[in-house]
């Protein structure tokens, strides 16, 4: 591996992993301490996350309660701190829609909102009834500072994107190397016209070592991906394991490559081992593609960007994340390739030792 690639790897990883912790989360609405809305006055505390209520308490801090596309202005009673403000809203007894949301707006944070299930049984609903609502004039509807997108339930753990997801990209790339090397093994043994049979042996031996070294490195990244994914799932989806096509697919990939190493260990003859392992590896990689690329498109699951697109849609992965995510992916791929290189060289040294 070239030195500049190693330096690139180090720089990319340093940048990405440091930024994964360095940048703040974009502001967002956390919760309101109210369960039931009634006609007339409603007083509640609005809790934000990374917001700047106090800083803007005199210029442009606004709160609204919306019903469908109609907005009802609120009166700010007290700004407690940057993330908390006590407000009062007066609602009419007829609302246009059952979809209730709570908005906050400051010049720095832009507009943030909270959707929360509410007891709204005290209201009458009528589509065209717009009494009391105002057209909204907000100071700024986009936040000004660099920050990762705020998403309810995920919160700060969105930073895991830079740690967990590159594991799978790296595994895929390293397994692809293994797949290519396995094809080389078979094409080396398949050359019938090669007169010197020892030449075939040497050729397939080199490719076999490459294939097994890369499969081993890929398996390490697969294990890391499974463990980190399981932890992330526990604290966002609520269970260590959920019935999600990508999760199940990842587990099957893990089992397949464990089976690959069991197969390798059960054959003693070196040439035969190379051939059989290569055959199984090709089979396994094709299934890996089907499992992780094809099947998740066709089944509903919890991972983002489902139904037609297993990657991230523009909504899920905004530009602030991309700027850190792609360097992280490339950094980890280079790191994986480096580790594979080391593993391969040790393998070659060990086999020289035996002879």
């Amino acid at each position: 591996m070239k030195l500049w690639l190693k330096i690139l790897c180090a720089v990319l990883l340093f940048y990405a992993l440091l930024s994964s912790f360095y940048h703040p989360l974009a502001p967002g609405g956390l919760t309101v301490d109210i369960e039931k809305l009634v006609p007339g006055a409603n007083t509640f505390v609005y809790s934000g996350y990374n917001t700047h209520f106090k800083d803007h308490s005199n210029d442009g801090l606004q709160f609204f309660v919306s019903s469908g596309s109609h907005y009802y202005p609120t009166e700010i009673i007290e700004v407690i701190d940057n993330n908390h403000a006590k407000v009062n809203v007066v609602l009419p007894d007829t609302l246009p829609s059952e979809e209730i949301a709570f908005y906050a707006n400051t010049p720095t944070d832009g507009t943030v909102y909270i959707m929360k299930p509410m007891d709204i049984s005290a209201f009458v609903f009528h589509q065209n009834y717009t009494n009391g609502s105002v057209p909204v004039k907000v100071a700024n509807d986009q936040h000004q500072n660099f920050g990762y997108p705020f998403q309810v339930i995920i919160f700060e753990s969105i930073r895991n994107l830079m740690w967990h997801v590159p594991m799978w990209f790296t595994m895929f790339v390293i397994m692809f190397i293994s797949f290519i090397q396995s094809i080389h093994v078979l094409s080396a043994t398949g050359r019938e016209n090669m007169l010197d049979s020892s030449m075939i042996y040497v050729q397939s031996g080199i490719h076999d070592r490459k294939a097994s070294a890369s499969a081993e490195t890929g398996l390490i990244f697969c294990i890391l991906g499974l463990i980190t994914g399981s932890i992330w799932a526990r604290f966002t989806w609520g269970a260590w394991w959920t019935n999600d096509p990508q999760l199940n697919g990842a587990m099957v990939v893990f089992l397949m490559y464990v089976a690959y190493f069991i197969l390798r260990n059960s054959v003693n003859d070196e040439e035969k081992r190379a051939r059989l392992a290569a055959i199984f590896n090709i089979f396994a990689f094709v299934l890996l593609v089907v499992l992780l690329m094809v099947m998740p498109r066709f089944a509903e699951g919890l991972h983002p960007g489902k139904s037609g697109n297993p990657a991230f849609s523009s909504y899920d992965l905004d530009s602030s994340l991309r700027m850190v995510f792609y360097p992280a992916v490339f950094g980890f791929i280079l790191l994986g390739y480096w580790i594979y290189n080391l593993r391969l060289r040790i393998k070659i040294l060990e086999s020289n030792e035996e002879i």
């Binding site: 398949g190 089976a259 035969k272 059989l276 055959i279 089979f283 099947m295 066709f298």
Partner: protein
């Protein structure tokens, strides 16, 4: 092509000659379904039907497939090697095993209906269900034939078939269970179509890979 036909005939003739082996697998199917009945007594949810049919199908296929390479000694295989191309050998074996698994799975379905009744089929789409039964069986047959060939050549016996076979078969199993359950619940072709597509992709890829890779396996 003629070699392939002769080989297929040979497989069928060999199976019919060894009636005890076929009867053994048949008994295995019956016993499995009977044990299911004894432990569950009633089985009304379509989801459980879909799952149980294919778990039974999976183990039946493993059982039926184990002898496919083992029953021929080294001498016979050398003879076959000189006589026919590797592709016709694997094609005949794969098709024969797909046929065998289809027959066995149909039998196991009969036993399921015998013990648990036909109630779950009340709003099932039968043509979908039959297609699922066929495609699932052929998929099991194709994949496991290839894997048992691989395990046989590694020379470490029957245990390796399970170790190599299980991870490789799970994608097929997930899809076929989903498709069959969908058919039993009466989904339309459009709603169930994506599962069918994955099923066809898996079937085609396992058959194609067997044809591509078996020549490398067959030579020694």
């Amino acid at each position: 092509m003629t070699a392939f036909k002769e080989l297929l005939k040979k497989e069928i003739r060999l199976e019919l000659r060894q009636k005890h082996a076929l009867a053994g697998v048949g008994m295995y199917v019956l016993a499995t379904v009977f044990v299911c009945y004894l432990s569950l007594e009633t089985l009304e949810s379509q989801r459980l039907w879909g799952g149980l049919i294919w778990i039974t199908g999976l183990f039946t296929a493993f059982n039926a497939m184990q002898k496919t390479f083992q029953q021929e000694g080294g001498g016979t295989q050398l003879y076959l090697y000189t006589l026919a191309s590797a592709r016709s050998v694997i094609l005949s074996k794969a098709l024969y095993n797909a046929l065998l698994v289809s027959v066995l799975n149909t039998a196991s379905l009969m036993f399921f209906i015998l013990f648990f009744g036909e109630k779950p089929f009340a709003d099932a789409d039968l043509s979908q269900f039959v297609l699922g039964l066929l495609l699932g069986s052929t998929g099991l047959g194709f994949t496991l034939t290839f894997i048992s060939g691989l395990a046989y050549k590694s020379g470490s016996g029957v245990g390796l078939v399970a170790i190599l076979g299980f991870p490789v078969i799970i994608p097929l199993l997930i899809t076929i269970v989903r498709f069959t359950t969908g058919a039993l619940l009466g989904l339309t072709w459009l709603e169930n179509g994506l599962n069918l597509l994955v099923l066809v992709i898996l079937n085609a890829s396992s058959l194609l890979l067997s044809l591509l890779l078996f020549p490398y396996l067959w030579r020694d």
